[in-house]
């Protein structure tokens, strides 16, 4: 468990301890639930992002996907459509973005960074077109809906559990999931082994797009409004959450649960904790940056040690690789 979540878990524990001791209310159940609810949107997006990171790729367009999905859903709701239609439409948006990225990266062999950068621009433009650069404010009813609970569980958390559960299932229990890990570890070995690397890559981007769309809808239900900067910079938070959770940017390593989820919770917990201790709001980004940096630093140092240890050995007494 520890290994799976890696340093993120340790950092998370530290954060809980530090803030818990400074502020009386930090460890209250209501606050903890609050943290989970507030992190739901990011967690869902980050989980999708993890899939692309596992293949040693990246999807910079998730923020724009969130934006367009929320805009479309918001518009439909404002026009009186039922929530279910709005959600389906949002999924359609996610699928469209995912497929576009999939085609660019898997079939045109473009570098993921630049391909999804382009989609980011295209998407943001599209979203601004749909919203006519005006904020969409949803009727109170929907926001109420967003904070409603089913069997005491807030809806956003349900959505989060559903999305994360599905992705976790795909990654750990389906052929596609295991092949994603294989391709991320070594694309050449994957090809030699007969894996259809194109299909695997494409799938990871489609999954990411769908998650981003769902994350957008959840964020919409929490905020109740789609502003001009909706989803802006989300791609960076999503990558950070995944990396904090032990996902390697080099591919092949990382778990959605507990990993990325802990990463997202960690980011949210830090912010929440800072609010509770009445920290200067201006230092939030600084603390977040330090947390991300130090976690990745430790990860890099560990990776270096791992590389050194696996230098080819010639003279072999009966030694294990760990020495």
């Amino acid at each position: 468990m520890l290994r799976a979540a890696g340093n993120g878990a340790i950092t998370f524990a530290l954060v809980l301890i530090v803030f818990g001791s400074i502020s009386r209310h930090f460890l209250d159940s209501s606050n903890l639930i609050n943290i989970v609810v507030q992190s739901s949107s990011l967690a869902i997006v980050a989980v999708g992002m993890t899939c692309t990171l596992l293949t040693a790729g990246i999807d910079l367009s998730v923020g724009s996907t969130m934006f367009v999905a929320a805009a479309v859903a918001g518009k439909l709701l404002l026009d009186g459509s039922p929530a279910s239609l709005a959600v389906v439409a949002a999924l359609g948006v996610g699928l469209a973005f995912g497929l576009t990225n999939a085609v660019l990266v898997a079939y045109f062999s473009m570098q993921p960074f630049i391909a999804t950068l382009a989609t980011l621009f295209l998407g943001r433009g599209l979203a601004l077109l749909i919203t006519q650069t005006r904020s969409l404010n949803l009727p109170d009813g929907f926001v109420q809906f967003g904070s409603r609970r089913i069997l005491f569980v807030p809806l956003p958390i349900l959505a989060m559990v559903l999305a994360i559960g599905t992705i976790h299932f795909i990654l750990s229990r389906t052929s596609l999931g295991r092949q994603i890990y294989a391709v991320g570890h070594s694309p050449s070995a994957a090809r030699v082994a007969g894996i259809n690397t194109r299909r695997v890559l494409a799938s990871s981007y489609v999954i990411c797009g769908l998650c981003a769309a769902i994350g957008g809808v959840v964020a919409l239900s929490l905020l109740g409004t789609v502003s001009q900067t909706f989803g802006s910079q989300r791609e960076f938070s999503a990558v950070s959450a995944a990396v904090l959770g032990g996902t390697s940017l080099f591919g092949g390593r990382g778990k959605v649960f507990p990993g990325t989820v802990i990463g997202a919770l960690l980011i949210q917990a830090v912010e929440n904790g800072l609010v509770l201790v009445n920290a200067d709001p201006y230092i939030y980004p600084l603390v977040t940056a330090v947390v991300i940096f130090s976690t990745v630093l430790i990860d890099s140092l560990r990776h270096e040690r791992f590389l050194k240890a696996s230098r080819r050995k010639i003279r072999l007494e009966d030694v294990s690789l760990a020495s």
Binding site: I58, L104, F108, S109, M110, Q111, F113, I114, A115, L117, A118, T119, L120, F121, L122, G123, R124, G125, L126, A127, L128, L129, T133, F236, V239, S240, V243, L249, F250, D280, Y282, I283, Y284, P285, L286, T288, A289, V290, I292, F293, V296, L297, S300, L301, H303, E304
Partner: protein
């Protein structure tokens, strides 16, 4: 002097005067087939892969647009284009240095903001640290450059010493120093900056704005460094193949750190320009430029894979992006259409890059 080749390649040395600019053939086994169809295809791909493609496109674009927008080429509009172009160009040059080493610098806009803010705090007449002192401007400017250098150094060090991926490192510094800028100003802009700053940003000598002079000088120096100096060659080598560079005795770590320091300093210079023009030091200055600083070099032909890129390409790319922004704006097209167009362009440029890499790749 020997003719320099125009076609791809990263600042190659000319060995003799026999190298013709359009020659892409060395000891290649490709035959000179006189088939007219093939040479037409060759000509088209040479056009597509030519580094002047963008200039042709800009020219074509202007020709088309001038018909739709009579004021496109007016003095006023051109001035506006120029003032938008210059800061973007400087920061794109910053990014370009890093891209050549096959890295990325997401922190350029944070450097921008931090630098602007530090300068403002030193120089402002409104309770600044050195306000009203004759030293305020030189120290302020120096401090701004120093901020860029320090952040760049931190980036470079983390990437080389700790072997962390550039994306994450510069993402962290972006978040951190962006936050620092907002923090020390409490999100407030700083006004009442000394006259000299405004002069740098807005003033001219004769018909030539100082900002343009400064940018041109910077671009010229950058070009010189990349094409004529040892460190320039090292930057390309490290980007092309860092293993081979290491074995050739090139100080890879020092070179990479250098690239990031240069990036930081250039971003600081851009901050000087923009702060001067706006006469305001702002913690959110230039924020939305970040992805443009990657888009402009890429559209211009700088490769994300590293090892390829020339200053003039970055100039063309920045020109193109700025003109497009400007023209579409004037057409009354909204911001979002412009965004989409930018996205499409980046896409095309990247596809071209992939094609170029594939066509010269080993079978």
């Amino acid at each position: 002097m020997q003719p320099k080749s125009d076609i791809q390649g990263a600042g190659d040395l000319q060995v003799t005067t026999f190298a013709s600019p359009d020659s892409t053939k060395g000891e290649s086994t490709r035959d000179q087939v006189g088939d007219s169809r093939q040479s037409a295809g060759n000509r088209i791909s040479r056009l597509l892969f030519s580094e002047y493609l963008l200039l042709y496109l800009i020219a074509a674009y202007l020709v088309v647009m001038v018909g739709l927008i009579p004021g496109l080429l007016s003095a006023g509009n051109l001035r506006s284009v120029l003032s938008n172009l210059l800061p973007l160009l400087v920061v794109s040059i910053a990014q370009g240095f890093v891209l050549i080493t096959a890295g990325i610098d997401l922190s350029v806009t944070a450097v921008f903001a931090c630098s602007s803010v530090v300068g403002g705090l030193i120089m402002t007449a409104d309770g600044g640290w050195l306000s009203h002192s004759p030293w305020s401007v030189p120290v302020g400017l120096a401090a701004m450059l120093l901020v860029g250098a320090v952040i760049g150094f931190l980036n470079g060090l983390s990437i080389t010493l700790f072997k962390m991926p550039p994306f994450v490192v510069t993402l962290s510094t972006m978040t951190f120093f962006g936050g620092v800028a907002v923090w020390i100003t409490r999100s407030r802009n700083i006004y009442e900056l000394p006259r000299q700053i405004a002069t740098i940003g807005k003033g001219s000598i004769g018909f030539v704005p100082y900002a343009l002079l400064l940018t041109a000088m910077l671009a010229a120096i950058a070009h010189l460094v990349l094409s004529e100096t040892v460190i320039g060659r090292w930057l390309y080598s490290v980007g092309q193949n860092s293993k081979a560079a290491l074995i050739s005795g090139i100080p890879v770590n020092r070179t990479i750190i250098c690239a990031y320091v240069v990036s930081g300093v250039c971003a600081a210079v851009a901050a000087i320009l923009l702060t001067g023009r706006l006469e305001t030091a702002s913690p959110i200055i230039g924020q939305r430029l970040l992805l443009d600083t990657v888009a402009a070099p890429v559209i211009g032909g700088v490769s994300l894979f590293g090892g390829r890129g020339k200053i003039r390409w970055i100039v063309f790319g920045a020109l193109f992006v700025t003109f497009m922004d400007n023209g579409l704006n004037l057409l009354g097209l909204s911001y979002f259409v412009i965004m989409m167009a930018k996205g499409a362009l980046v896409l095309l440029a990247a596809l071209l890059d992939v094609r170029r890499a594939a066509s010269t790749a080993q079978a």
